[in-house]
Symmetry: C2
Subunit: 313 residues, 2 copies
């Protein structure tokens, strides 16, 4: 048990904040975890399941005397929340966030923070399609990456404290420039999400293929898109609006390549298709080797028939 902060305040109690609470407790990283959320229902649920040591009604109250404040709200309201809590922050406290976009969040949050408070923007690259106060679990960050994007000149001790917290939650921590973060994430996360949403929308729209067919026959590839496309709509709306430039750039590259493959299909250019499909296998191998996925057949999904048998035993 290595306590890193005496009091941690979680603003917003969704999947990430909930998982942080579980992970911090697992490793004894915080003396006290105080949480709050805008919705009364969320606060009540969090109280009922004992998600935090204390759940309070306002963000202003939550940050009082906190050594670390974690903004776990959608990117679009980070600025408003920062303005609300700023007057109540303890001098010397560290403020971080978990937003999927960094340049825009820095622009919205940093101006509100008083002198003597350390802002270390962060982004844990972990998630599921579930949201809400009951969706968190302690293992979410195990072997996942957390990217920190502090400005040059940020207090080194504040950065290192936050590093240790995330490492204690099981994560690997790296630092990078906020703009580079936004480009990398446009490639590895934002554009894939937009594409998955689009594909699922197309399937839902098509009159000649029924929804029940799409659902029953989804194991042939489609279902992997639906998981991504079930992510929180508000979070993702904000991501695209606030990482507009990088997302549009990658989308432009994507459609260019897609049109080339489409043309190869139309003209029957099998060589182009085969060469393209061969090259993409290497990246997959890299991901397995880096421990960022399992190569278990069928993703480690247990077939339902077997699950039933197990339950019956």
């Amino acid at each position: 048990m290595t306590r890193i902060y005496d009091r941690v305040a979680l603003i917003g109690l969704g999947l990430i904040a909930g998982s942080m609470a579980h992970a911090m407790r697992r490793a004894g990283l915080a003396g006290e975890i105080v949480g709050t959320a805008r919705s009364t229902e969320t606060r009540e649920t969090a109280r009922k399941i004992g998600l935090c040591d204390r759940v309070v009604d306002t963000a202003a109250e939550a940050v009082g005397d906190a050594d670390l404040v974690v903004l776990c709200v959608p990117v679009g309201v980070m600025g408003a929340v920062a303005r609300e809590v700023a007057p109540h922050l303890k001098p010397g406290a560290t403020v971080t966030d978990v937003g999927s976009v960094k340049r825009d969040v820095i622009a919205e949050v940093a101006p509100h923070l008083p002198e003597g408070v350390h802002f270390v923007p962060g982004h844990p690259l972990a998630g599921t399609e579930h949201s809400g106060p009951t969706s968190g679990f302690a293992e979410l960050f195990d072997n996942r990456y957390v990217l920190l994007t502090p400005d040059e000149g940020t207090d080194r001790a504040a950065i290192d404290g936050l590093r240790r917290l995330w490492e204690g939650c099981g994560a690997n921590v790296e630092e990078m420039d906020a703009d580079h973060h936004d480009l990398v994430l446009a490639v590895t996360s934002h554009t894939p999400h937009l594409i998955a949403y689009t594909m699922v929308g197309v399937a839902d729209d098509l009159r000649r293929v029924t929804d029940s067919e799409v659902i029953k026959y989804s194991a042939a590839g489609f279902r992997d898109f639906t998981r991504i496309a079930a992510s929180d709509p508000t979070m993702w709306r904000d991501v695209f609006l606030s990482n507009k430039d990088a997302t549009l750039e990658i989308l432009g590259r994507f459609t260019e390549e897609l049109f080339a493959l489409q043309r190869a299909i139309r003209t029957g250019d099998g060589e182009h298709l085969h060469a393209y499909f061969t090259r993409t296998r290497a990246i997959r191998r890299g991901i397995i080797e880096a421990g960022q996925d399992t190569d278990a057949p069928d993703f480690g999904r247990v077939p339902v028939a077997r699950r039933r048998e197990d339950a019956a035993e």
Copy 2:
């Protein structure tokens, strides 16, 4: 143990044929399983691991006296294989295939088959990104769908025998028209695969984001695309070339929707994005309820840290 065929011949010994062999044995569905593959290496591996009761050197030899012949080769060579085995088929035998495209396979295969042999085209909607004779496992088809697309007038007893075989392998069997199959699969499988291949190719191409960054930070959405994009290149080249019309139609619809979302990002139309992202959640719920995926956090992937602990216990 319910024997359905005295002798089953598997032509081609990859993931699907291998899994069929395991699944048929699990339920005692075949008296003898004979297999063959074009590559000497594949045949030797299959012999070494005892994948079939007998592995023979040619397709012509394999089909001799077989009651069921399963063509498990890429869609592009189905016609050539059918021509090769046709003179050696036993009268009254059933021939089926496992190709991902049905109209084109029917056009290539049916003309070669002699009178008195029953052709029942089939497509098991199951797979992993692995290929080759060692990649199969008995549970692959459990609770997955197999679509049969026989012409009107096909012998009912032949269709029913094949149905029972697949049901004995754990699958749900449905029948539909070949053209409808190709459209449904263009939506649930072919277009998603093309899109995934494209996205992984874009990531690999981008100079300013390194491959190692793409790999390390893949858990944020990208890795789900890489699994799909690691599928067998030859199989997928053939799929796109032989299901050209339906794939191009769905791709057209996809780019139309993608451009609408791209425009919403560019113009900052958050309402359009939010409405689109909300609607796609319902399909996901349907897939979970239909038992075609698990809603376990993180897809049921066990974090590496926990796997290590388990191993240490």
